[in-house]
Amino acid sequence: MSVAEMVGPDGRGGIRREDRPLAVAILAMGGQGGGVLADWIVALAEGAGWVAQTTSVPGVAQRTGATIYYVEMIRARPDASPVLSLMPAAGDVDVVLAAEWMEGGRAILRGLVTPERTTLIASTHRSFAVVEKERPGDGIGDSTAVAEAAGIATKRTIAFDMAALAEANGSVVSASLFGALAGSGALPFPREAFEGAIRAGGVGVEASLRAFAAGFDRAGKAGKPDLPPKGPDKALPEPPVRVGAPALDALLARIHDEVPPAARAMAYAGVRRLTDWQDPAYADAYLSRLKAFLAEIPAATTLGFGDAIAVEAARQIAVAMAYDDMYRVADLKIRETRFDRVRREVAARADQIVLTTEFMHPRMEEVCSALPARLGAWIESRPGLFRALDRIVNRGRRVRTGTILGFLQLYAVASFKRFRLGALRHGREMAHMEAWLALAGRHLATDPALALEVLKCRRLVKGYSDTHARGLSKYDRVAAMVPRLAGRTDAADWVRRLRQAALLDEAGTALDGAVKTIEAMLSEAAT
């Protein structure tokens, strides 16, 4: 190559139109090894007597941002050296390697993927961007949109979870991507040449070769590209007839007798949660409350709506009754199953010891609301006392649940849960729930769609301390709009939009905007 490069363009002779370099674009995030992958491809091509060139624009993108590496290669000629491009051109890329699924989408958006030319090799795993993670609701981008776009934009798509494959082989995604590139046959080099390039790189060779082989095998198999892995399906088993414990069997019998078939699985989920949260008697109270609400659904409601309302009521009443408090947290944290899960999550080996530390920060608000209702209210009505106690209570507490004493602290809190139904918090939660159900119930006959949307608004109340308070305030703002919208044909639609807006940002800015829009609309309609 070096000799050829010295010759330089001669300007004589004809134009060799048929000589066209192969172009490979790598879309990756900083830290994914895109640079290493580009170097391997160059080494591969050069090893085969080709001329190859890579370039990149890492800059600060090396810090977790999306970036692109670009490689061109052409069979060398003894009498001339090629003039290779320093950047990919829309519509003129042979292979796009995407080290993450949405980066594959980005390549398509940039026009680097075209049906005439491009093999898209993309790992289907997701690494969520900050904007996807920070929403109070579900901000995760729709992976299927990328699959659909790939369906029409590529000449060929090879997609599977290369990150998982790499991890299983003790390596990183660049190695399995390189394997998939080899297995795809998109470049005219044999497998040994690819492996030679990895060996020449000299770093983490064995693990890289294992991940490479896994990627190679998987890409070589014919078949349709994988879709990105979905989250787990919601666990909604149908309730059994009996499980053998009288208290539980009575609950099951009630589900079968009183809940419409469509909502039984959800009601069963609710019953399990509330039995776990408190006891079978509390789950029984749940079924009673659910039954009372379902009885309000007029028989004339269209079947689909009736079922949807029943499912949502079964879900949301359970969520409302199983509110998050310190008894619940302690109860969950001390379980054996939880200890096992932590070991799994942190990938601890059998011979390693795992000690957990919990980060708790109770405030007087939480402590007070957990006290018996009258005592709690008595303290709350004395701000001086409340503040004094808050000074003692309100601090970060690190509980080392891996030690006996630390464990005992949470064990004690969990044991007190039998007093929780008499606590100040419980009365308030139940009052709030009743107000919410009443609001939904008011519209069951006249506008079932609106009633359904009001039920769904319970989703806004979640979190602990300030976050919980903010959720409540968002719920209140949405709930306040319901009576004003009621009677309009698009009332349900507006409430759905309000709820979606409330889940967009923490402070509720989008929600305030949506409320203003509605107010303007209402006042216009009034004049």
Binding site: R117, E134, T356
Partner: protein, 718 residues
Amino acid sequence: MAERSFAREVEDLKLADGEVFRGEGILAITKALLQCGVGYVAGYQGSPISHLMDVLADAEPILSELGVHFESSASEAAAAATLSASVMYPIRGAVTWKSTVGTNVASDALANLASGGVTGGALIIVGEDYGEGSSIMQERSHAFAMKSQMWLLDPRPNLPSIVKAVEDGFALSEATNTPVMLEVRIRCCHVTGSFIAKDNRRPAFSLAEALDNPVRDTSRIVLPPASFQHEKEKVEKRWPAAIEYIRTHRLNETFGDDGRADIGIVMQGGMYNGVIRALTRLGLADVWGNTRVPLHVLNVTYPLVDDELVAFCRGKRAVLMVEEGAPEYLEQALAHILRKADCPTRLEGKGIFPVAGELTATVMLDAMTAFVERHAPDLLGNRPPVPDARPILADPKVKALADVVPPRPAGFCTGCPERPIFAAMKLVEKELGPHHVAADIGCHLFSILPPFNIGATTMGYGLGPASASAFNVPASKRSIAVMGDGGFWHNGLSSGVGNAVFNKQDGVILIVDNHYSAATGGQDILSSRAFNRLRATNNSIVAAVKGIGAHWVRQIDRTYDVARLRDTLREALTTTETGPKIIVASSECMLNKQRRLKPLTSAALKRGERVVRERFGVDEDVCTGDHACIRLSGCPSLSVKHTDDPLKEDPVAAIDNSCVGCGNCGEVSEAAVLCPSFYRADIVQNPTGWDRFLARIRTAAIGFLQRRHAARRIAFPA
């Protein structure tokens, strides 16, 4: 220490005559400097030229053997001033930085240097940080060459060409007594390729010889009347000498001009590959550089050689100037040249090209197509299909991606110690309301992005505090200025802290100290805590600000202590004490820390030593999916996942195994009173006998209680 080792690249610097150098562009330049007998190299790190500095920093044995002095300058101004060694002595010197920002900082020294002129070759390698991947304002270094009358090289972007440009640059500088700028763009700095190496050369005249035999000449000092003489010299002597040298040594190149073509293209050298590729797509050139459209490549973009250009243009119906960025200095100059020469050739440029922005492949193809269609449509003949993504981009399914593919700007790394600083700022913001925050250049500028959204302006490296100085009036809130340790030593100590002390600034100055110049690749600076054999480190920022007269100074040596940072910040914003309130928040850059510790840890593990790995996790059944923790973090390892729980509609938080256990999650959930979902797991690897004994007792006791607790609970079978 830079964040990675350059030991292998250092080996490349030793290549001898006839051996093949393979590597990236900026390292080829580094090798070329040694081949040219450079006497000293100085510079300030920054993309895209950081690697030049990093390799030389690791190449001390080679440099000392050759007698080459290398310096990591305090700033680009300091680097430029270093070239002063070439004013009176025949020593070749080179400096480098990121441009235009670095050239802005350096321009005082450069203007003085260019006025008096040089004796030894003086080369200024500017990494033109323009277009995709750039992190700075989009400007052109070209203007600096024009205003100070320094010569500007812009070679074709391949290794042999840029290596030749280094050689030409020194020679041109010496032939014309003028400093020469060598402009290399981002992609050119990172392009790989090869060239035939030459032996390294010792400097013909050493710095020691100069020190031992000092020379002075008042006619070289910028003071009247010499300064007026310099201006005349520039136009009467140095300029003609440059034109003569460029012409004689054929620094500019012409390709494919048989004198019969109707059109031609004039370009900056750096645009050559893009032009060839666009013409190739039109069927007018090929990948080997053969072209049917004559090309005139300006490897020297300042000064222009008038008669070369007139000769190229004359007889052609139209020429196209391919010039990146605005304003279009070259096009203006060429128009002027053609007018003066009464040359009727039509000049095209901006208009066919967009006035602003990078000349991407698509822009280049569109412009070439328009130019040829307008002035020589016959050339296009039977047009081959041109690659075109527009049809597919117009498809609704592809368009839909615009709403789905998330923006993914660079951000704080996993475990970054700067994250808790901005989490604390957000907590204070919730208490005291938003403040005017003057941001600065460095990793900490990622604070302006989600999830933190903190910071109103940036005015230049180390200028954060200075940029808040007008806000020194009575008001209910104080301004907050952020500055990194890099910016602090670059100039912030005087322009920021000194300025604030002197003017009795009442604001808060937050100095983010991560022990390195981290954003540029983790180079050592004055306050780095590592021992460095070649540099004096461990100089205290606190001592410096106190030395300059600051009184209210707080040092926080563990930025992960979010509560302490929050309280300190609150105190700074509310104290009645006057004058600047300075908080120095220090913790080691996690990227560098991991690189430093990982090998040590794995070695200790291999030896069977007890090592505790810390990691955070989220209890998914406790988490309610409100993501408040993420809005105070944004850590790549803190993500979200859907669960199978039908009662949880929103995804819950989840921490993956890339967590380095920095502690931020726990501290934030404590300080912000978030939720009790977080846990820290201490994983004891290679536990001792005592560890195992204790674990057995704990497991027995806790297991007993767990079974008892479970037995009391009536539960459905799982």
